[in-house]
Structures are given as structure tokens and as C-alpha cells.
Symmetry: C2
């Protein structure tokens, strides 16, 4: 097999991006200068400017590059629950995997960095969300649509159901991390949140006996369940 | 009735805090200097330092002062659902009120500010959460415990149920605001999220026919619902 050699240009580009990622995560956007990045990458400032027009462009590149890592999570979600015979167990396992992935300290720091700069660079924040987390939600909605088709869930709006699943799952631990700055949740706590979210989701979205008897009719409990509220943005 | 006169000291103190709040919210912690605050408050920098030892102390004061406003929200939650005859309608109304309150642009900017500085000042972020949002959650848990006592909800862990209610309610619009920097959600969208959250919560936490027949027994659906997972932190 031929070994693909990294060119001198590519190597410097990679070193600059790695240095920028580390520096932005440690010191924030405002606290990072092109000089800092050049020093960390061990290249000249002129070299940094040859690769990136300005700090904003380098920041956008660093932030959006992280959305590539989402592909593995999307594949994990897409493969989940395919042949499950115990739906609650399957949902719990999926919830635990998602939570473990999304609560990684580096991802939490990145989340804080994007939130910090969203007022200043709304386009970067929006793109990060769309290319990142929204792809996970879409994959999850696909799984729920499939389960609804097999009569195992009742979900008229699978994307809304996906938002509800992650809202139940992530609200407590993500807020805790965001507000306290403590990015170390215990495995036992995370598993507890995951199991509670999965069980609650299933109670909300399991077909009722009425659905099972006549799947095409509206749910009877609660009586005023809205039929279609549109997809969340 | 005697009019309570504001002393010269109190007036300057108030002007400094108001100027600091506006400047921190507009420019962040790192982007705000004591000189900026003095200029906005139209006092000398020496006067600012007579009232506050340093920028950090002023920041803590400004952030934690906002938790006073939570009292009105706690009272609103505590008064909700007291004599409701239509639980879904009552939950929807509560959800809409909470969402309208918590999605105020100023509160979203404050939330971003606290998240931004949580790594640097974990004690301020933690105190803000505990004195603010956690009081709302506790009030909500009290309402759910009351409804469970009246046989209208099935909630073994009312605080967990409160977290689930706000997770279902806030995850979509708060994330959208945090990542896109767009703090203007339409009334129709917010009402749609609120109604969906209330309906989903009620499906998850409504007593099942089995609960109604024999309230002291465990739920029969799902079969492996954990009995007690402890309160979230």
C-alpha cells in the first residue's frame, strides 16, 4: 500500500489548526491572539497569515472541523435499536452511549466556546449546530420513525420526539457542566440520568392499548394532544 | 407614609451596579474594564473602587443580584395548578408562562455570560444556578408532589419530574438561542414548544389505569421502571 506523504504545507496547516484549537479552548476567542497561535504551533506569524486570512477565519475553521467527529455518533445512533426485542433496554443503552459521548470534557469546552461567541459570530454557532448536533437529531428521528412504523412507538413527529429524548437526557448534566464549570460527571450519575430519560421517554411515546387496537386513530390520552405542531427549527 | 430617601452612597452604588450590568452584558467579563464601568456610571474610578474591591467582586454582585427576580417566577409556579380541573390545560399554561419568562432576551444574555465565565468563576456560576433556576425547579417539584398526592400524576421523584418537565420545555428554544445568538423566538413557536412539552410530560407522568386501581403498586408499563434513582444534583 502506498503511503500518502503529508506535504510541508499540509503539515504546517495541521500544526496551526491544532495549536489554534488548543489555544481557543484554553483562553477563549478574545483571549487568543495570532501571536499565541504562531508560538504554540512553532511557526512564524507570517506563516499563520499565509494559511488563514484572519483570526475569525481560523476560529471558524477550528470550530467547524470538530463537526467531522459527529459522523461516528451519527453511525452509532443509526445502528441502534435495529433489532431490539427489549425497547426500554435498547433506549437505555442508546441514552448511555449518547450521554458518554456528548459529556466528554473537550466537547463541553467546545460547547461553551461556541455559546460564548454566538452573539459575535452567529453564523459559526448556527453552522456548528446544524453540521453537528442537528445531524445526530436527524439520525435519532430516523430511528424513532422506524420504531413507529413497526408499531413500537407512537411518534407522529419523530424529530420532535428526538428533541424530547435529548432534552430529557441532557438537560440536567449539560446545565450542571455549563454553570458550574465542572466537567466530571460520575459514571453512575450519567447512567442514572440515561436510564431515567429512557424510561420517561418510553412512557410518553409508547403506543397506548388504543393505538395498538386501532393504530390510525388519534391517541385517547391526553384528549387534546395536538395532531401536528411542525418540526422544531 | 414616609418616603425613604436614597442616600448619596446608595445612589452611587446603584448607578455603578446598573452600569456594570449593562457593560458586562454588552461586552462580556474580559471585554469590560473598571474604567468602562466608571464612565458609564458617570462616577470616578476611585468611587467604583470605594464600593467594590475589584472587577470580580462587582461581577459576582451583578450576576447574583439578578436571582432576586426569580422570586416572582417561583411565586407564579407555586400558585399554578392549584385547583386545576383540566391538567393538560394547566400544564400548558404553566409551560407557556415559564417559557415566556425564561426566554426574555436579557435573561438569555445573562445565561450566556454566566456560562462564558463558569470555567473562570465556578463559584459564581454555581451560586447563580442554585439561587436562581434551582429555586424554580424546587417549586415545580412541590407542585408535582402535590398533584401526585391528589392522584393526578405518578411521580415517585418529583424533583426528577421537574427536571424532565423543563428539559422537554427548554431544550429546543434555549439551545437555539444559545448557538445562533438569535434571542427572538416567535410567540407561536414558543406556544408550540410549551404545548408539546406539557402533552409529552403528561403522557409520561399521568397515572396509568393500574396506578388508579391500585395506587400503591409499582407501574406496570414499562415493566423495568427503576423504583428510585435519587435526586439530580
Amino acid at each position: 500500500m502506498e503511503h500518502v506523504r503529508e506535504t510541508r504545507w499540509d503539515r504546517k496547516h495541521r500544526l496551526i489548526v491544532e495549536a489554534a484549537a488548543a489555544t481557543f479552548l484554553a483562553n477563549g476567542y478574545a483571549g487568543t491572539s495570532m501571536d499565541d497561535i504562531a508560538a504554540t504551533a512553532a511557526v512564524s506569524k507570517q506563516t499563520v497569515y499565509k494559511h488563514f486570512a484572519d483570526k475569525r477565519q481560523l476560529f471558524a475553521d477550528v470550530v467547524l472541523a470538530t463537526t467531522d467527529q459527529v459522523t461516528a455518533t451519527v453511525q452509532m445512533v443509526s445502528a441502534a435499536l435495529e433489532d431490539t426485542t427489549n425497547l426500554e433496554q435498547g433506549l437505555s443503552e442508546l441514552a448511555r452511549s449518547l450521554l458518554t459521548t456528548l459529556m466528554q470534557p473537550e466537547l463541553l469546552r467546545l460547547r461553551r466556546l461556541v455559546i460564548t461567541t454566538a452573539d459575535q459570530f452567529p453564523d459559526i454557532g448556527t453552522a456548528w449546530y446544524r453540521q453537528g448536533f442537528e445531524r445526530v437529531l436527524t439520525a435519532l428521528a430516523g430511528r424513532f420513525a422506524d420504531l413507529a412504523g413497526r408499531g413500537l412507538l407512537q411518534a407522529d413527529d419523530p424529530l420532535l420526539a428526538a428533541h424530547h429524548f435529548v432534552g430529557l437526557l441532557l438537560w440536567i448534566p449539560v446545565n450542571q457542566a455549563m454553570f458550574t464549570g465542572d466537567h466530571t460527571s460520575s459514571k453512575a450519575d450519567l447512567e442514572s440520568y440515561a436510564d431515567a430519560a429512557a424510561a420517561t421517554f418510553l412512557r410518553a411515546y409508547a403506543p397506548t392499548p388504543a393505538d395498538e387496537a386501532a393504530p390510525s386513530t388519534a391517541r385517547t390520552r391526553p384528549s387534546t394532544l395536538p395532531a401536528d405542531r411542525g418540526s422544531p427549527p
